[in-house]
């Protein structure tokens, strides 16, 4: 699944079928190559909440289902870094385009590929996502 497909999907609780908002963005643990949280924008674009990946029941083509008894999540620790549009830098210090999309496994949250303006980078080559760049290991 790509992030561009998942963005905007309704996020619905499993027990009550209550729509808590729409999927707005993803938080990554780049070094681990996985998605840690979804950021969900509430109704009418208000109030953003975070949902931990492990609290998800399913990510489907038409909706994201979360377990009903989800405690409010403080969200990922540390400053927020959007991955889309982020500059990509090789560990040698050379720019490698900017991030356009992510391909991830909807059952595990593993990042399979990062699609950049200059091509694709395998998810296991990610080293870190910071305020300046997404750093990737050399080919």
């Amino acid at each position: 699944m790509t992030f561009s497909e998942a963005r905007g999907l309704p996020v619905v609780t499993l027990g009550e079928a209550r729509e808590i908002g729409v999927l707005a963005s993803l938080a990554l643990d780049a070094a681990a190559g996985r998605i840690t949280h979804l950021r969900v924008t509430g109704p009418r674009g208000r109030k953003e909440t975070a949902v931990a990946w492990k609290a998800l029941h399913a990510v489907g083509p038409d909706a994201v289902l979360v377990e009903s008894a989800v405690p409010p999540d403080p969200g990922p620790s540390g400053p927020r870094h959007e991955v889309l549009g982020r500059r990509v830098l090789s560990e040698e210090g050379d720019e490698r385009g900017t991030v356009q999309d992510l391909v991830f496994d909807p059952s595990t949250g593993r990042v399979e590929k990062v699609v950049t303006t200059l091509g694709e980078v395998a998810g296991d080559r990610l080293l870190g996502l910071g305020d300046h760049a997404l750093v990737v290991r050399a080919d």
Binding site: A31, E92, L127, G128, G130, H132
Partner: protein, 202 residues
């Protein structure tokens, strides 16, 4: 060989951790006494109004010197300013502006910039000099700003650099051509006798 760049253009290049955070930017590049290697970098904060940073980056802590960033493992590798600057003073200051003499005693110009290799070597490949006369044979443009390979027998004394006389046969007038000349100069296997043998100039 890795990409070459002039040390002057390193100023302002971001210092980025493998975690992707820009923690500083390069202020000045500091060289060792014989100007053969980069000792490290002095740093300033990020952004237009940021002043000098009370930290420095010793070369040993550099992960890689790239075209767009100086990569480091983490912010904890930054050291006290003295780790780099103390050595700068020991090297009697800057090599910029130093006179360039051949070992045959001819003054060929003054140093405008130091050309360094990218990657992990920290090596100085040569110098950009303001030449007294055109050193590039057959160049109609008679460019006076040329690149001279550093050479292995170079000496630095006070405000002058001494390069082997045959180094001037390996000059180039742009960085792209210079990379090939440095390779050729290293491959020539030591000094040739009195420069009688023709160099690889066209």
């Amino acid at each position: 060989m890795n990409e070459l760049s002039g040390a002057r253009e390193l100023s302002g290049r971001p210092v980025v951790t493998l975690g992707g955070d820009a923690v500083a930017q390069v202020r000045d590049t500091v060289f060792d006494g014989p100007a053969g290697r980069i000792t490290g970098f002095t740093l300033s904060g990020r952004g237009l109004l940021a002043g000098p940073l009370r930290k420095s980056l010793p070369w040993s802590a550099v992960h890689a010197l790239g075209r767009h960033a100086v990569m480091i493992r983490g912010v904890d590798v930054l050291a006290e300013p003295s780790a780099v600057v103390a050595r700068k003073e020991a090297a009697h200051g800057q090599v910029l502006g130093a006179r360039v003499l051949t070992d045959a005693g001819a003054e060929i110009g003054v140093v405008l910039d130091v050309v360094v290799e990218g990657g992990t070597s920290g090596r100085v490949a040569g110098f950009r000099i303001n030449a007294r006369e055109s050193l590039v044979a057959g160049s109609r443009r008679r460019r006076r700003k040329v690149f001279v390979p550093r050479g292995e027998t170079l000496a630095v004394s006070g405000r002058a650099l001494v390069v082997p006389a045959d180094a001037v046969r390996f000059v180039a007038d742009d960085l792209a051509g210079f990379a090939a000349r440095v390779e050729a100069y290293r491959a020539r296997g030591g000094a040739t006798a009195n420069g009688v043998e023709r160099g690889p100039l066209p």
